[in-house]
């Protein structure tokens, strides 16, 4: 049985790209052509049950969210998009005229005692033996990403991962960082490599990160790369 209510004139395509589509039982209507590159999509709220719509871009598994140069006393990267996992690379974070300075990370501007960090270290590069004095730091007010030691200039290269970054719960934090007393990579006498297994007790999704040096008023450069994953 054919369409009985529609007439040839009422359903005839009026322009290039028009579609004749069913609008009800034994009825038809014209759906005019959509915008270039739009696709036909089901939509029960329209008269024809169809519409032209743009294709939503898929969020890539891993995406570079930002590249930021460290400067000033503190560098804060804000409005971080919600991602399940954040991986951050800190390249050549440099500081001068300090001793025992540590690269400090705070999340969401949180200065409370919500950073629980356990350290293991390789010191003294003549042997690079594992330090038995593996230290634990509970209730710190920041995460330590690396340390330089009693030098006029020092540098930290590190990476860290925050899991469950977009959830309202505690967040596992793992980092691996090396501090050296030169700006040309691990030096012969002062390189220290640190691995941490930690947790951040803040419950808000991660939306900002702040980097600063303990015991220094300013950064002498370095770059922070933030990658996000939906997984």
């Amino acid at each position: 049985m054919g369409i009985s209510k529609a007439t040839a004139s009422s359903v005839a395509p009026g322009a290039k790209g028009d579609l004749v589509v069913g609008s009800a039982t034994n009825d038809a209507a014209i759906l005019t052509v959509g915008t270039n590159n739009h696709v036909l999509t089901a939509d029960s709220s329209t008269a024809t049950g169809l519409k032209w719509a743009s294709v939503a871009a898929a969020t890539p598994n891993w995406e570079l969210l930002s590249t930021t140069t460290l400067s000033g006393t503190t560098t804060t990267i804000s409005s971080i998009p919600a991602r399940r996992t954040l991986h951050v690379i800190v390249r050549e974070a440099t500081v001068s005229s300090i001793f025992n300075s540590r690269l400090r990370l705070r999340l969401n501007g949180d200065t409370g005692s919500n950073y629980r960090q356990a350290f293991g270290r390789f010191n003294n590069p003549s042997t690079y033996s594992w330090q038995n004095n593996t230290s634990f730091s509970f209730d710190d007010t920041f995460f330590e990403l690396g340390q330089t030691n009693n030098q006029s200039v020092g540098q930290v290269n590190c990476g860290f991962t925050i899991q469950a970054a977009d959830t309202t719960g505690f967040k596992p934090f793992i980092s691996l960082g090396g501090g050296s007393a030169t700006t040309s990579g691990p030096d012969a006498t002062n390189h220290q490599q640190v691995i941490t297994n930690s947790i951040y007790l803040g419950t808000s999704a991660i939306s900002s990160m702040s980097f600063s040096w303990v015991n220094s008023a300013s950064s002498n450069g370095g770059t922070v790369f933030i990658y996000g994953s939906v997984n």
């Binding site: 930021t68 560098t75 025992n100 303990v214 015991n215």
Partner: protein, 75 residues
């Protein structure tokens, strides 16, 4: 430009602003730096005092540090 500033980069807008530290933040940062400096100086002074006491004891005994190690059987 003041001594202490925070650089804030907004990922969503691409905007970067610089904010001066508040007096409270300046006081907190300077107190932290002073405490670290004091702790380092205290540790250095303690190490120097121990070394001096050790040498004074060796001098009283009339032996060298190597001889003391032999005496104690340490490596």
């Amino acid at each position: 430009m003041t001594k202490y500033q925070e650089k804030i980069y907004n990922i969503q807008t691409g905007e970067t602003i610089f904010r001066d530290f508040t007096p409270e933040e300046v006081a907190e940062l300077e107190a932290e730096m002073e405490a670290i400096q004091s702790a380092a100086e205290a540790a250095a002074a303690e190490a120097a005092a121990k070394a001096a006491a050790r040498q004074a004891l060796l001098d009283r005994l009339g032996i060298t540090a190597e001889e003391a190690q032999l005496l104690l059987g340490s490596n």
